[in-house]
Symmetry: C2
C-alpha cells in the first residue's frame, strides 16, 4: 500500500479495525507501511484502545454464554462464540510462557488455549476431553497474539469432534482435533476413556 495522508490513513484504520478488530499494532503498521509508533499515535488520536483492551471488552461480553467452563477457567479470551458451532479465542503469550533461551512459547500453552476453547464451544453443562491429536506447525515467539479458531465437526456416540486451528499473523502454528464427551463427570475416576477440560 502506498503512503497516504494521515487523515486518509486514519479513516482506513477505522475501517480496517471494524472488519478485523484483532489486528496488532505491528500488523497494522505493516499493512499501512508506517511505523508502529505512527499506528499508536493514530489510535490515540482516534480514541481506539490497544489490542489487549479491545480483546478484554469483547471477551467479557462472551463469557456468559459459555456453559461448560467458568470464566476464569478459560485459557485465553473468547471473542466469538456460537455454542455447538464455532468459537474464536485470543491469547497473548508472554515471556513466562516461553523458554528463556529461545523465547519460543511452550507447547502445552498452545494445547491449553485450544483445549479450553474446544470445551467452551460445546453446548453442555459439563464436557470432558477424551482424546486429542495435535500438530505443532511453527514455533511461536513470546509477545505473539495467538488466534484459535474452533469448529464443531460432528457428534457420534456422545463424542463431539472439535477441530481447532491456531494462527499467528495468519499462519498456522498449531492444529488439533479433540474428541469431547458431553456428559457428567465420573468423580470417582472409575471409568475409562474420558477426562476433564
Amino acid at each position: 500500500m502506498a503512503k497516504v495522508s494521515r487523515r486518509a490513513r486514519q479513516e482506513r484504520l477505522v475501517e480496517t479495525l471494524e472488519r478485523e478488530p484483532f489486528l496488532t499494532d505491528e500488523q497494522l503498521a505493516s499493512r499501512f507501511d508506517v511505523s508502529v509508533q505512527t499506528i499508536r499515535l493514530d489510535r490515540l488520536a482516534l480514541g481506539i484502545k490497544e489490542l489487549r483492551e479491545r480483546i478484554k471488552g469483547v471477551a467479557e461480553s462472551r463469557y456468559p454464554h459459555v456453559r461448560s467452563l467458568a470464566p476464569n477457567e478459560v485459557f485465553g479470551d473468547i471473542v466469538e462464540l456460537d455454542l455447538g458451532v464455532h468459537g474464536l479465542s485470543i491469547w497473548r503469550a508472554d515471556e513466562e510462557h516461553a523458554f528463556s533461551r529461545s523465547q519460543i512459547v511452550r507447547g502445552h500453552y498452545l494445547f491449553a488455549q485450544a483445549n479450553s476453547l474446544a470445551v467452551a464451544i460445546v453446548d453442555a453443562d459439563q464436557a470432558l476431553t477424551a482424546r486429542a491429536v495435535v500438530k505443532f506447525m511453527r514455533s511461536v515467539q513470546a509477545g505473539s497474539y495467538m488466534i484459535a479458531h474452533a469448529h464443531v465437526k460432528g457428534e457420534r456416540h456422545g463424542y463431539i469432534r472439535v477441530n481447532v486451528r491456531t494462527t499467528v499473523d495468519q499462519k498456522d502454528v498449531f492444529i488439533a482435533d479433540f474428541l469431547i464427551m458431553r456428559k457428567g463427570l465420573d468423580m470417582t475416576g472409575g471409568s475409562t476413556g474420558e477426562n476433564r477440560d
Copy 2:
C-alpha cells in the same frame, strides 16, 4: 496384609521404600493397613523424609543429565533418566491446577508433564515436539501424585517416537504418543511440521 508389630512394620516400610521410593503416605497406609498418621509417625521415627522431599533429592541429581531442556523448564520432577531409552517423572497436582468446582486436574497439565519428559529423554541438545496423540483415561483429583513413564519407541527420518504413560495409584490416567524432532530450532518459524518443547 495383617497388622504387625510397630517394629516389623517399620522394617517393612524401609524395605518397601527402597524398592518403591515414590509411594505416598496414603499408599503406604493402605498397604500396611494402618492410618496415614501412623505412617507419618513411622517416617519420623525412621528419619525418612516426606515424599516431596524424597522426590526433590532424587530429581536434583538427575537434572544434570537432561540435554534438551534447562532444569527449570521441566514440568514435573525427573527421578529416573536413561537418555534415549526411558525416564520417569513425578508431579504433584495442587488446587491451582484443578477446576475449582470439581477439583479435577486440568488436562493441559498432564500434557505438560508428559511432553516435558518426552523431550527430556531425547539424547540431543535441542528437541522439538512435532505431533502428539493423547488419551485421557481417568480424571485426577488435586493432591494426587502423577507418575509419568516415558519410553523411546524408535526413530525414523529424524523423528523420535516417545510413548508416555501417566499413572496415579498404579492406574493409567493419561497416555500419549509424541513425535519429537532431534534438530536445531528454526528461529524464524518459517518451516512446517515442527515446534518446541
